[in-house]
Amino acid sequence: MDFPTIMLDISLFCGLYFQIFLLVTFFDGEEKEKNAKSLTETTHATLPTVSIIVPCFNEARTVKKTVMSLLNLNYPKDKLSILVVDDGSTDNTHAVATAVVAHLNTANGFKNIKVVRQENGGKYTAVNYGIRQSTADIVGCLDADSIVDPQALIRMIPFFNDKKVMAVTPAMRVDTHLPRPATILQHIQRTEYNIGIFTKRVYAMIDAIHVTPGPFSIFRREVFDTIGLFKHAHNTEDMEIAFRIQSEGFRIANCHNAFVYTITPNTLRKLYRQRTRWTYGFIRNLIDYRRCLFNKKYGNMGMLTMPFAVIGIGFVFYFVGLFMYRGGVFIYNMYERISTVGTIGLTFSHLSFASISTSFTEYFHSFYFSLGMTSVLGVMLLATTIYIVFKSKKMAEGSAKLSRDIVYFLCFYSFVAPLWIGKSVYNVVLSKKTPWR
């Protein structure tokens, strides 16, 4: 057995182990959730005051929709306040936000809304500004490119009945509230976000959530007094705060039916930049919190999710490298063949896509498909992945029908994701910073 085959078998073992762990946890946790008493025994009198911060930078197009969605929240208006923090936008975000606020003040009589402007300092400074200004029991954050479901907040609040819960994360979706997914990439992301809903629910069951997403994660105000405010954290402050909360022994809950709808990048370039930033930030935060790795003190986060994240990134990097190397050898062989015998025997049919892909498949045949045990394991891993994809869709959208989102995801995701994982690892290794935009 050669080295790549051994690596492939190890990666399949790790992948299967992780997915089975998630599924076992999910079925176990779902049963417990069914048996547990309803968490929604919260009356108006006991509802906490909530302050939502909307940090914006050049979001003139979407800020109005975002603020209006907050106003539509099913939550007592006397217990809700909104603070729009313009982080030094260079477009007319401030003017649009001010007009919206003025309109709400006069037409709706909603007074607990303010717009403030600060010098551009990055998202985390805008959120920190809002937190300092706030006196509410609960502080939330909603990115200005997202829209929140009216029932989201009222579903999330009861999780704070557990005194150890310091943050609650929502279920992020791509849906018809925003321009419908148009490109293949947006279809892929729709399935990806649905899977995120499944994994966050499972991660919450084992206290291992690694991110409190910018779109509508809410925090107990006192947590910031205990562990401090948001940090720059390699442009991924929402990941760092999650690591910090849990490494301090507090909990992060997830409300899987508190939906927040977000706009997804529609081009590969935009998606690549966004995901490179996320992945780069995630790796850097993993490095910053390396003390948690394989440390029982930090629970499942230290023993399961963090180690598997490191292993996963490592394997992706290795296989991308190997794939590129073998692809290079294939191209070299083609070049050598053409330079040796010209195009004799290399008819048009040889150069068609189907033919090239067949030759390519044949070339990789011995490595990927003829290993017996490896291919059987690959099929099993694919089966669990497909199950999780459909389960996620059912959880997010209420139906588990086969759709093109799923088909695109299964066909293309494993080809596009290595792009940003590879680039992020490259940036980390060479200490190259990854910009926000």
Binding site: I20, F21, N300, L304
Partner: protein
């Protein structure tokens, strides 16, 4: 008195702090608990899946090995058949002799050998055995073809190609491309390729018969040995009859080698 009160207060304070610390630790433990049993259970489950995968893979491998064995049996019959053909040939006119029996069997065997190499690797003992059978059948086919051509007073268009899979033979890959291209261009051309490192006595005999040196690749055309890489143009000059064959051919009769530096198999 004052001192006693202060001492009591200090003790109470220390106890409270210790209790708080204990509570904090308990709380932390309850939050960051890990279930060793679950980790172990999932590990067992994953190992179980591995065992099932191994069993399924072994089943298919055994099937493949059975196929190889059956092919080997078939080759034994073919070799016997070729010997019978020799005898028939001695007593018959060339019009009734079918020269393509072995060639078609060789093409099938080449594909199976390719699949076996992909599945088991070129170093597998099963693959090496199969390759030896294949080489024997090639030699038989070559001798039979020579015999037929002699009997029918025709000039054979065949090439014996000796190669090595070792990295020292840098030109073997290129020679493989050339011969594959030639075969595509001239379907009547018979190319018999032999792995010089296979350790088969029959191949060793050919090597000493045609004075094949260590500088591979080597091709033998009409009994003449050509060492080193031969380009497409060179081979076309060596066998001028190829151009004639190209115009008259109706069936593909060329044979193939399958290993990485041989010639790609014809489907």
């Amino acid at each position: 008195m004052d001192r006693q009160v202060r001492l009591q207060c200090r003790l109470i304070k220390e106890n409270t702090m210790a209790l708080e610390e204990k509570n904090k630790k308990t709380a932390n433990n309850s939050i960051n608990r890990i279930s060793g049993r679950k980790y172990f259970f999932v590990f067992l489950l994953t190992c179980g899946i591995f065992i099932v995968a191994f069993a399924v893979a072994s089943f298919f491998n055994n099937q493949k090995i059975a196929e190889i064995k059956s092919t080997e049996d078939q080759i034994s019959i073919d070799i016997l058949s070729s010997e019978t053909q020799f005898e028939i040939l001695q007593q018959s006119s060339c019009s009734i002799v079918n020269s393509s029996i072995l060639s078609s069997q060789l093409a099938t065997l080449a594909s199976e050998l390719s699949a076996a190499e992909a599945a088991h690797g070129i170093d597998s003992s099963d693959v090496i055995t199969l390759k030896k059978y294949y080489s024997l059948l090639e030699i038989k086919d070559y001798i039979l073809a020579e015999q037929i051509y002699k009997q029918c007073d025709a000039r054979p268009i065949s090439i014996l190609y000796f190669y090595s899979n070792k990295s020292t033979c840098t030109d073997c890959t290129k020679e493989g491309y050339v011969l594959t291209a030639l075969r595509d261009e001239y379907p009547d051309l018979r190319v018999y390729s032999f792995d010089a490192d296979l350790g088969l006595n029959a191949i060793e005999t050919l090597i000493s018969l045609y004075h094949v040196g260590s500088q591979l690749p080597v091709i033998v055309v009409n009994g003449t040995t050509y060492e080193g890489f031969q380009s497409l143009d060179n081979i076309q000059k060596i066998i001028p009859d190829l151009a004639v064959a190209a115009g008259t051919s109706t069936t593909a009769t060329s044979t193939v080698a399958t290993s990485t530096k041989g010639i790609s198999s014809k489907k």
